[in-house]
Symmetry: D2
Subunit: 490 residues, 4 copies
């Protein structure tokens, strides 16, 4: 993650010409990264491009691939979508070699900047080292200051570079030892892939907050953030990388080491119910089925006398199908999404600002007029989208609008690699459910309960003594220290 | 439309740097254009950009806007999406004035080229004239040869330029008369908007094959290809422009003239059931409802003992919902679409060619495994997509795959502005339904009947004496002459 | 030439991205174009690129090449220098074929715009036709209006396009007849090259104002504006194209026709003494020697008691050498020119505006301090450059500065293809020599006389009854009508 | 300098799109860098841009400027000429602040790459630090390996980055002490400017091999590589920075420290006689006058019976004037240079390869035919240019060609920041003067003697005990160790 606001340096070289103006969709949460790695396959770069394409929902601002061809590393990092950059013959031909790692990035408010695009690369005394990272280190700024005082020079504001400098300055001998040594000082959530001239490395933080999965394609080990990146290349799912596990893949095979003593897993519950693609398997559960179950749970917790169930496309669709089935109401496409909305539309056209959400969503009047509508979305963050959608649905002639949210109220920011607004901008941080209902203008508003959420993922409920997941955004129960925040460094 | 293959000239100036390599999605039909016009509104350019954005599904290769500010015309034409170009302040600030026309273009195999991007502009002796056109003129090449022999010089291969030269060389006096005169020689389908220093003009061909709609925003007349372009700017729907009607909008108001004697309308049935956005009203019918009715009709005509109904997203979704309801089977998202698939992905990565359709569609195994699946799509053109989807669904563990197509078999090319493969590449031109079933590998295959299709749009069936629509792609019954084709000029 | 100020249309598409901001060097005259043609040589495009490179001084804003490969025409037109565009393999590989024409363009105040870059290309009924033109047609706007009234549509504001439309609409049969017919209506100065699928054509206006030369390389005919374009490819000089001559080069050989009855030649005296490269042979005279002779003549007409002769580099260098030799004074490089001054420097840096000419010229103090300096330049147009140079030389310690100008005072604009300021901005149009001396701040100022100038080109003096050259800029004696100017169309 | 061939990493991100293909002019030597600094002037960035423009001859591949505005540093680095980049309002407006440093770079064979463009910037624990460097460190790779082993991570292959890491890892306290400490380990030639939030710093290596000059503009201190960069902004020359001097300029004034004990100066004799602009004052001598004296010395050492003296423009012009005066022969422009030759022309056009030097130089036949020619150039490196020029002059009809070179034979490479071919490619490393004469095909060949060269700069001759200049390229007498070369690291 980019540590915001700390550098007074402003780089405005050529790279800025490539800067895409974009309006952050500030009413949704964003996963910040997806990673991919492959060892020993003749199509390493192409497989990585395909895997990153399947993981595109985890980061759309930029992507990068590093390959090693036995002699040289080749590095390509580009702002924009995978499909817009990593399909050009000129780019792909340069990515020679049978080992590769790749990274998708969702940029935060600091803006897109090639300097922060991953994988990062460093020339160690022992040779080249490339790394791509998903997550966020909660003491990155603290560590950076310490390293700078000892003479390390940082080129980016990425917390990934902190890991590189920790490895570079470790007093241990071989690389695996240096990595284990470096990570002892690191707090937070991280899943990373790394590539050297001899090794593909994968590592997941001690709590396993962010996902990392091991697969196999024709004998070549594959590392991915989500199983959909295995599907796209017809690779087999082998297993999840364990929390605190360091995987070292060489020509001789796969070695597993630990970077920490085993702890209880606290994987992010939002990966399953929100970020991941519906066709992914997360923590052994089919994401689409989980979301339908949340919808059904929501129907049980917040039933209502209505005519139709309408999803906010596409994020609310699986839960709406579940809700419709459980409540025996018709499922109807009452809102049509314009898929050509890129990240760029709204900002520059002043006239458009006032028209807001209709750029992306239009009411389907024929469906909505005269109906009592259950509107299902996956989350409510700032509430602005919900407010506009309620208006859109009403102005198309709906008699009643009942908003149902397939996640609990969210009053807390995430510090583990999810781009959330500041706490003060989260509607649930300062409003009751009834206040939120009034804010968005719905006739009723219902959130799935936290226990209902846990039931949808197969638990009997939340174990408050020892929670089965990281759910800090809902509960405020952060499983690691937040050192930079405590020191007001971020 | 671009007349293919006739020019031996190859322009490769700077414009070609902007050329986007793209793989035509050759297994779907493409509408070629969308048009928009507004007269006398202070935000003319912004409204046009928004309208074109809502019409983006009608043409994604390029877009253009022409405005007139009382003194000058301003012309911006760009390859790429509306949202990528017509949101830049630098572009929008140049589009001064309160009258504007705009155009979206879907380019054919000849490739994207700024020369062919519309609106086209010409300096007549009487002043500037901009025009954007949706449709295809079936004697454009014949007319072009005639004009060239009299000394007209063509700059593009667009049939729109033929209209411009006919107007320029007309021996009539005022512009309206020149247009009516020019169009007497023109065969085919066309709906166009035009802008002069004093007038906004809209015109629809004598049979009304392509749509054109009149709306109103705060007293300013608006012309659009589909009603969704009115919705996005909260404009009112007034009426359809009539077949053979020439609308001349000036400061004094709206004048309606005829370019031909009234004939029976033959509007394109595919606009309603295939191209138009589901939230548009086409020929007074809600498109989404029509598609659900086709799905229900399909369930009646081709019922099957199955477990779930799965749409090919997003094109097959409304029909699948209709099918599921009519057959009382669960509607499930068994195929997940990757919305980040641009037009560029497949080609350059060789390894990807063999993986084909999974770039765009992935099976949702949890849903499909062990199920008898009804798979619903909107059309079957070459059959390659259907074949791959049947494989994808089977390889995810489906026990049976029953393909249902929400349109009749299509053995004929369109010559009225829809980009269809040549007849020989249309599967239905040389295969029976059973042969097609074998080709795509489905357990059963059913198309909605031609009469079923007419019933879904509210008719009792097709009136074979005097068909209510243009349905030449299904029936081969072309409502105009195809002069260029007869002369082997195209 | 671009007809200034007539069109209210503003094209601001992608092409404008390529627009080079540039400050016209408004205190010098600029030749507007150079042309090149080759017939039947395997390296046609490369030879053309080289020839245009040698003619780069005749136009730096843009260049274009058209080739014909027996099947197709290939067109490349680019803003910028020949060496920056026509050396890229991607560009050169597209220019297939063994016949080619090329064109360098110096853009006028209307600004660089790909639409106006030549060669222009048109698809006639009889096939493709490319043309590149050097000169200016003095009734182009008048002809354009006439053509537009008959239905011709103009795409550019280039007077070259007027020639194309005249040929297209001629009622004659074969191309040569159509060209002769078209040119009957054309007034002004023009030398053009044209290419069809079978012919290379060269033509010079009836007075031969602008140059055109026939050469030969290994049996392939070559047409060039100046002999230096023959030298660069080691081609032989054959002869000048005659005034009023139309050369038609085909596989069968070279045919010469006349477009007018023979008249007395009035070639531009400035080609020889000012625009042409010093190593060119113009009208059978070595340009460098002519300029040295003008310097010597200047020494005779305006001798002065001084210490050193200093050229304004590089334009004044040959005349300064001639002056130094004739006056037996040392020739010294007292002003150093920065060759990295492109067209872009001065404008944007506000601070630089006040420092003006030093961006391009710096005083060489060691040479100038304490000296009485004769400063030699080739012309005095607005006087601003001379004023600054006098200051620069004085501030470096020169005791006296005697300015000598190697051309007569110039009170008149050129309408034959040379970019001159309007008459009102020409210093000599409203000042006596003494007033000009005061304006530039020199201790003395001397111009070569008009008869002195004629003597340097080998004449006894100017024949005022029947002048041997076009010298309208000095004398106001225009050898053709200026129809557009008389009609206030330009 | 970029250390060639040491890194196996290949960066090919977006930056490579900006890569200019260029043919290194391999038969001339190239200065690698120019630097500029200004403290406390409201137009800091504009002055820096102008200064870099005046120093453009010292490096044409790239330029960069860093400013500090009291809060932030602003960094702009661009490939290409100063005038093409640092005149754009968008660029200049970003360079806020009243302190600035700038750098011109001549890239070596490794190619242009934004990563290596200076000034480099690093965020030290104590704040930002920007540095631009002229010269070459002869133990840079050795130091880099040592630093990497301690954990420093290098982003570029620039030896300038080595200086940054040495400062960052110094165990001294304040910046000035850290710099002095860091430089103790550094061997070679360097003159650098640096900028922090409080200081402008200038430093020259202990022998003063590369130049650095202190000037003043309206009370603001200025640092420049050559005096011509003072002239362009009308700044005053104050003094040369002394060898081994560290200048620290703050708001309180100018502090001078020493980085080494005083040694005898060994400034590069080539700065004066070859690289510097003729209007610069180098080591208190006017460069133009020095070159004329070398020409005169050459006439004395190698007189010949001839008709004219012709310079190879523009490098040989001052010496040719000196030669002509001393030998009383006419000075004539027998070779015309095409100033539009950029760095890009020759390579891509195959046909051009054989035509070679004529792209840049054309014979002026009228001058040369029938003459005995003395051809004067400034140096003879590989001999290929001289060979071609002799041919060009002969083929224009010269009877005899006598080549005179205004520097001694050069058998040795430079390791102090001048881009020289490897020793094996230097003609003088393996040929006698007579062999070289035959190689280039001249009738006679003469070089100025080493003592003659020293006399032209005001010495009685070379003091072989304690040479007054660095003249290693002529004599092989390197004034510092060449550690990397000895260790085969470069």
């Amino acid at each position: 993650m980019q540590n915001k606001g700390t550098s007074l340096t402003k780089y405005t070289g050529k790279a800025s010409l490539m800067k895409t103006e974009f309006s952050l969709d500030t009413d949704h949460l964003h996963e910040e990264c997806g990673v991919f790695g492959v060892f020993g396959h003749p199509n390493a770069a192409a497989l990585t491009a395909l895997g990153l394409h399947a993981l595109q929902h985890r980061g759309q601002e930029a992507a990068g691939i590093v390959t090693y061809d036995g002699v040289q590393f080749h590095i390509e990092r580009h702002l924009g979508l995978v499909g817009d950059n990593f399909t050009k013959p000129s780019v792909m031909e340069r990515l020679k070699g049978d080992c590769a790692i790749g990274h998708n990035r969702y940029s935060t408010a600091g803006g897109p900047n090639l300097r922060n695009v991953q994988p990062l690369f460093a020339e160690f005394a022992a040779g080249g080292f490339a790394i791509g990272h998903n997550g966020n280190i909660t003491n990155a700024r603290t560590l950076q200051q310490k390293l700078q005082r000892k003479g390390s020079i940082f080129q980016s504001t990425s917390d990934t570079e902190t890991i590189i400098h920790l490895i570079a300055t470790s007093d241990q001998g071989v690389l695996a030892d240096r990595i284990v040594d470096a990570l002892q000082d690191v707090q937070g959530a991280y899943s990373f892939v790394a590539l050297t001239s001899k090794k593909l490395i994968g590592c997941r933080d001690p709590l396993g907050v962010r996902p990392l999965i091991l697969g196999d394609l024709e004998g070549s080990p594959i590392l991915v953030s989500e199983t959909c990146a295995l599907d796209i290349i017809s690779a087999k799912f082998i297993r999840q990388v364990e929390p605190g596990e360091l995987l070292i893949i060489t020509e001789k095979g796969l070695e597993s080491r630990r970077i920490s003593k085993p702890k209880l897993k606290r994987s992010c519950i939002f990966e399953n119910v929100y970020f991941a693609r519906p066709d992914s398997i997360v923590e052994d559960l089919n994401v689409y089925e989980v979301r339908k179950k949340i919808g059904a749970q929501l129907a049980r917790e917040h039933s209502v006398d209505a005519d139709i169930v309408v999803p906010v496309p596409d994020s609310g669709t699986p839960a709406a199908i579940g809700y419709a089935e459980a409540s025996d109401l018709p499922f109807e496409l009452g809102i049509i999404r314009n898929h050509y909305v890129g990240r760029t539309f709204i900002e520059p056209v002043d006239a458009a600002r006032h028209m807001g959400v209709r750029l992306k969503h239009n009411a389907n009047r024929g469906v909505l007029a005269g109906k009592r509508v259950v509107l299902v979305d996956d989350s409510l963050v700032r509430g602005t989208t919900s407010m506009k959608l309620v208006q859109v649905v009403r102005s198309a002639g709906a008699l009643e609008v009942h908003m149902r949210i397939a996640s609990p109220p969210m009053p807390n920011s995430c510090y583990y690699g999810v781009d959330t607004p500041e706490k003060s901008q989260l509607l649930a941080s300062h409003m009751s459910v009834e206040e939120m209902r009034k804010f968005i203008g719905a006739d009723s508003l219902g959130f799935v309960s936290i226990d209902g959420l846990y039931r949808a993922v197969g638990e009997a409920g939340r174990n408050n003594e020892s929670p089965q997941f990281c759910d800090a955004c809902f509960t405020g129960d952060y499983p690691t220290r937040l050192t930079d925040k405590e020191s007001k460094l971020c």
